[in-house]
C-alpha cells in the first residue's frame, strides 16, 4: 500500500506542476502564435492553435523605419526607435549603476565607507514606491531641462538601480576572501592592480548577473519612463502601452509582434543569468 502511494505522489506532483506551467506559459504561447497570423486568424472561432499560413507581415509593419502614424483612425506603431531608445536608456543606465554600485559595495565591504548603516540607508530609498518620486522628478526635470531626454531617464534609472547593485555586489565582494587581496598587497601589488587582477576576475560573474538583473528591470520599467518622457524619448513599454489607448485597439497582430520582440531579450538574458548564477555563487570551492 505504502509503496503505491510513494509512486503516486511524484506523479501527482508532476502533473500539477505541468498543468501550472501550461497555465503560465499559455498567454506567451498565444502571443507568439498571434504575431505570426494574418488578420483573419486573430479572432476566429474555433481558435487556431497554429497559424495556417505563417507570416512576417506583423513584424514588417512594426519594424519598418519611420514614426508611428494614424491612418484611417487606426494607429500604426513603429518600434525601431523605441527599441533603440530602450537599448540606450536601459543599457547605459544599467552599466553606470553597476560601475558606481560595485565601487560603493567594495569600499563599504573593505573599508566601511559611509558607516555601518550605509547599505541599509541606501536600501531604504528603494522602499519608496516609484510613484512617490515620479512627480517630484518632473518638477526638478522641468527646471533642469532634463524632461524627455536620454540623460534624464538614464540618471533616474541609475538612481533607482543603485540599491539593487550595491546589495547584490556586496554579496559577491564578500565572497572574495580579504586574505587574497592581502597576499597580493604583500607581493607589492598596488591597490588598483589588486582590484584588476584579483577582485575583478573573482567577481566577474557577479557583475554580469547584477548587470542583467538591473537591465531587465530597466527594460520593462514603465511608470517613470511614461512620466518623464514625451515624444523625444519613447521606450518599448511605453509603446506597448499605447495600444491600450488606441482608438481601435484591435490591431492584435502587430501588438503581439511588439510583445514578442520586447520579451525576446529578457528571455535570452534569463537563460544567461541562470548559467552565471551558478558560476557566480560557486566560490565555495575556495578554502576558507
Amino acid at each position: 500500500m505504502r509503496r503505491g502511494r510513494r509512486k503516486l505522489f511524484p506523479l501527482v506532483r508532476h502533473a500539477l506542476l505541468l498543468a501550472w506551467t501550461a497555465v503560465t506559459l499559455f498567454p506567451i504561447y498565444w502571443m507568439v502564435m498571434t504575431s505570426f497570423k494574418h488578420a483573419g486568424e486573430w479572432v476566429t472561432w474555433p481558435p487556431r492553435w497554429f497559424p495556417h499560413e505563417p507570416t512576417l507581415v506583423n513584424y514588417v509593419k512594426v519594424l519598418t523605419p519611420g514614426t508611428s502614424t494614424f491612418e484611417l483612425g487606426r494607429q500604426t506603431l513603429k518600434i525601431l526607435k523605441p527599441i533603440g531608445d530602450s537599448l540606450v536608456v536601459s543599457g547605459i543606465g544599467s552599466l553606470l549603476a553597476v560601475v558606481l554600485g560595485s565601487a560603493l559595495a567594495y569600499s563599504w565591504a573593505r573599508f566601511g565607507t559611509g558607516g555601518r548603516n550605509y547599505p541599509y540607508n541606501i536600501l531604504s530609498i528603494r522602499m519608496v514606491p516609484p510613484i512617490v518620486i515620479a512627480v517630484p522628478f518632473v518638477v526638478y526635470f522641468v527646471t533642469l531641462r532634463l524632461l524627455d531626454t536620454y540623460t534624464g531617464l538614464i540618471l533616474v534609472y541609475v538612481a533607482t538601480c543603485l540599491p539593487y547593485v550595491i546589495w547584490m555586489m556586496l554579496a559577491f565582494v564578500e565572497e572574495v576572501p580579504v586574505e587574497l587581496e592581502r597576499a597580493a598587497r604583500l607581493m607589492g601589488v598596488s591597490r588598483l592592480r589588486v582590484l584588476r587582477s584579483v577582485v575583478l576576475p573573482l567577481t566577474a560573474s557577479g557583475l554580469v548577473v547584477t548587470f542583467l538583473f538591473v537591465f531587465i528591470l530597466n527594460w520593462s520599467e514603465l511608470l517613470l519612463a511614461i512620466t518623464l518622457t514625451n515624444t523625444e524619448v519613447s521606450t518599448l513599454p511605453i509603446t506597448l502601452n499605447k495600444f491600450q489607448s488606441a482608438n481601435e485597439g484591435r490591431d492584435y497582430g502587430p501588438q503581439a509582434a511588439i510583445g514578442t520582440l520586447a520579451t525576446l531579450p529578457v528571455v535570452v538574458m534569463g537563460f544567461l543569468i541562470q548559467k552565471h548564477l551558478l558560476r557566480g555563487f560557486s566560490f565555495g570551492l575556495l578554502r576558507k
Partner: protein, 356 residues
C-alpha cells in the same frame, strides 16, 4: 639582515585591545613561534609586522629600518596565510609566478624559478592544476612555493598547517624545520597549538589577552613557566593545579591543603593562598614519609604511556602519567608523591610564579 624588533606595539579595535604594548626582539635567522589561545592577538601582531594592519601605537623595525609606515610590498616579507590565499582563478604555475610578474622578472627567468621552487617543495607535477582541485597538503606546498619564489628575508606564517589532518601536520612540521635550516631566514610562525610551538620553535613567545606572557626556549617555557597561564597552556594532559595555602618553614616552605602537606625544602618566602602545579609525568607511586593515599578512578592507555586519574581527597582528581608496564587497575589504592624539584608554585590571586 632581517632581524625584527617590536617596540610597545599596540593595536586597538574599538573596545578591544587586540595587541597591548608588546616588546620583542627577534634576531636574524631565528625561528620564533607566537603561541596562545584563539583571540590573544597573534594574527594582529603578524599583520602589523606585515603592514596589513596599522598599529595604534608603537614601532616595528626590520633590520635597521623603522618600517611602521611602510607599505606591505616594501618590506621584503613572505607570508603564508591561514587560508593559504591561493588565487582560485589562476593555475598553480600562475600562482607561483604571480609575485615574479609583479616584480617584472623576464618570462624565461620566471619559468626557471617556478620550476626550481616547485621542485623544492614537491609540487612540480601540479603546475597546470587549479587550486580548487588540490588536496590540503598540496595546496599547502603551493602556498609555500609562492612565498619562497621571491626569496624574502622574513617568513611570516599564520597557522599554515591548521587545515591539514593530524598526520600530514606532523610531517609538514618537520619539513618546515628543514626548510628553515636550509634557508636560514627569519621565521615568525603563529599557532594556537602548543605541540607545534614546542617542536618547531627556536624560541617561543607565549601571548595571552594581547600581552606577552613569556619568551623562552621550548624547554624553558615548559619546565620553568612564569605564571599559571603559561604552565597550563603547555603539556598534554595539562599540568595539575592544586589550590591550598603556603606556610613558611625554617628551611623552606610548606604547601598545605585538607589532604596534602608538601614540604618544599629550600624554597623561601611566601605565605598565604597559593596554587601548586605539578605535571602528570612528575606524579609517581611511592611509599614513604611524603606520600599520600589515592584511589585509581580511571585509566587511559596512550600506548607508549598510561594516564591515571587519582582521587586523593581533593576537589578534582590528579592526573598521573606512568609507564605502560605499571600494573594497576581501577579501584586500586596506592600512595603517590611528586618530584619535589619539579613542583611549581603560583600566587593564589595573581597566578604569578612564587617561591622558586
Amino acid at each position: 639582515m632581517a632581524s625584527i624588533r617590536l617596540e610597545r606595539l599596540t593595536k586597538v579595535f574599538g573596545a578591544t585591545r587586540a595587541v597591548d604594548g608588546i616588546d620583542l626582539a627577534i634576531p636574524d635567522g631565528e625561528f620564533v613561534v607566537l603561541v596562545g589561545p584563539s583571540g590573544c592577538g597573534k594574527t594582529t601582531t603578524l599583520n602589523m609586522i606585515a603592514g596589513l594592519e596599522t598599529p595604534t601605537s608603537g614601532d616595528i623595525w626590520i633590520g635597521d629600518a623603522c618600517v611602521t609606515d611602510w607599505e606591505p610590498g616594501e618590506r621584503n616579507l613572505g607570508m603564508v596565510f591561514q587560508s593559504l590565499a591561493l588565487f582560485p582563478h589562476m593555475t598553480v604555475f600562475d600562482n607561483i609566478a604571480f609575485p615574479l610578474r609583479i616584480k617584472r622578472v623576464a618570462p624565461e627567468e620566471i619559468a626557471s624559478w617556478v620550476r626550481t621552487v616547485s621542485d623544492t617543495v614537491h609540487v612540480g607535477h601540479l603546475l597546470d592544476k587549479r587550486p580548487a582541485t588540490l588536496s590540503g597538503g598540496e595546496a599547502q606546498r603551493v602556498a609555500l612555493a609562492r612565498t619562497l619564489v621571491v626569496q624574502p628575508s622574513v617568513f611570516l606564517m599564520d597557522e599554515p598547517l591548521s587545515s591539514l589532518d593530524a598526520k600530514l601536520r606532523v610531517e609538514m612540521r618537520t619539513e618546515l624545520k628543514r626548510l628553515h635550516a636550509a634557508l636560514r631566514s627569519t621565521f615568525v610562525y603563529v599557532t594556537h597549538d602548543q605541540a607545534e610551538a614546542m617542536t618547531m620553535a627556536d624560541r617561543i613567545v607565549v601571548m595571552h589577552q594581547g600581552q606577552i606572557q613569556q619568551v623562552g626556549r621550548p624547554l624553558e617555557v615548559y619546565g620553568d613557566p612564569v605564571n599559571r597561564f603559561v604552565a597550563g597552556f603547555f603539556g598534554v594532559p595539562a599540568m595539575n593545579f592544586i589550590e591550598g595555602e603556603l606556610r613558611p618553614e625554617p628551611d623552606g616552605a610548606r604547601f598545605v591543603t585538607q589532604s596534602l602537606r608538601v614540604t618544599l625544602p629550600g624554597r623561601g618566602g611566601g605565605s598565604g593562598p597559593a596554587v601548586l602545579g605539578v605535571r602528570p609525568e612528575h606524579v609517581r607511586f611511592a611509599d614513604g614519609r611524603e606520600s599520600w593515599p589515592a584511589t585509581v578512578s580511571l585509566i587511559e592507555p596512550l600506548g607508549d604511556e598510561t594516564l591515571l586519574f587519582l582521587d586523593y581527597g581533593g576537589p578534582s582528581s590528579l592526573v598521573a602519567k606512568v609507564d605502560v608496564e605499571e600494573k594497576v587497575a581501577v579501584g586500586d589504592r596506592r600512595s603517590f608523591t611528586f618530584r619535589p624539584d619539579r613542583v611549581v608554585l603560583f600566587d593564589g590571586t595573581t597566578g604569578g610564579r612564587i617561591c622558586r
